[in-house]
Symmetry: C2
Subunit: 205 residues, 2 copies
């Protein structure tokens, strides 16, 4: 239980990002143990990558880096006892999942949805671009798929995801996962979750 | 003390690489505690970056990434109680330092030299492109600068650095620091030192 005056951290992630998966699975218990509140902030890396001239994931643009990343994520997940499979296509287009997540975060089932999407995508290798996969995930959470998808496709949610992504860019984000503390301090990467929580704690009253 | 049958790890680093600095300062005691031997392998990232179309450090090519990296290295060094200063120009051309290091590794003062170069460059912000800085570092280790620099500039050492860099590329290296275990398993990044040592230990007889 994290109180109202507790420090909080913004957890910015992208459903297409491999390292966002272990971060999403780890952040809840670690933040609770540190007494830090967490805000889940899904966003899109695509527009940010595009702005720096990339048309796809850097892991596709630089094959040696991509090979290491896949092997490294396998090792990271193995240490955490999380299953890992590379989905096809890679990276996945995360637009629909991110919109549904924003709808869910307003309705109280968002965090569970985010974890379930990551498990489907990187634990089971499923294609989260398909509305059918997202519907399965929703049904697994006992959320009616049709109304949830309708809200996700509303103009309000579309605009919300655009403004979230713009905020991410303004805060200096260039990759995912990223953690931003109340003072704006930015940490990038699953392996920076613990230092980010230590930083957030130092800011607490 | 690490015995002849102990597992070993290749520590590939680049004197221009910020994260190679904390890795170089950490690897000795951590590897000794893990019972793993270490081979220091200086190489040049420039030719590898060039082969993937980069003309300078990715931290210069992608400013948001570069800003985070400098802040992150500051934080990493602060936790380790290592001083950190960004040298000018950034990144430094590491050709001379790498050649002298290869000479020193054949003569028994190489590892001390590597740590002293990193301290001069990133601890004190000195320019390691200057032969005067390298001479100061050598003198601090009680190594005669003139003969060491002469060996470093020999055709044999120049060819050696080229072949080391080619080997790095063949092993799939794309950044520094990197750690390669006896079975070829590759780990990239200062934060992957501990997992690399755990991997190396698992291979021991």
């Amino acid at each position: 239980m994290v109180g109202a005056m507790a420090p909080t951290i913004d957890f910015w992630f992208e459903f297409g990002s491999t390292y966002s998966y272990p971060a999403a699975m780890r952040i809840g218990p670690l933040a609770a143990a540190a007494g830090v509140g967490v805000r889940f902030r899904p966003f899109l890396l695509g527009p940010i990558f595009k702005a720096q001239g990339w048309t796809t994931s850097p892991f596709n643009l630089y094959p040696a880096k991509g090979r290491h990343m896949l092997r490294d994520v396998e090792r990271v997940c193995a240490e955490l006892e999380l299953p890992f499979q590379r989905p096809e296509p890679f990276p996945q287009n995360s637009l629909l999942a991110a919109r549904v997540a924003l709808a869910g975060l307003e309705q109280g089932w968002g965090e569970d949805f985010c974890r379930a999407v990551f498990r489907a995508e990187f634990g089971a290798g499923r294609c989260i671009e398909d509305a059918a996969t997202i519907s399965d995930v929703l049904a697994g959470l006992k959320v009616e798929p049709a109304p949830a998808l309708a809200v996700a496709r509303s103009d309000a949610i579309k605009a919300r995801l655009r403004s979230e992504t713009e905020e991410a860019q303004q805060r200096g984000l260039f990759g995912a996962p990223s953690f931003v503390c109340a003072d704006g301090e930015l940490f990038w990467g699953n392996d920076r979750l613990e230092p980010a929580l230590r930083w957030a704690r130092k800011l607490s009253p």
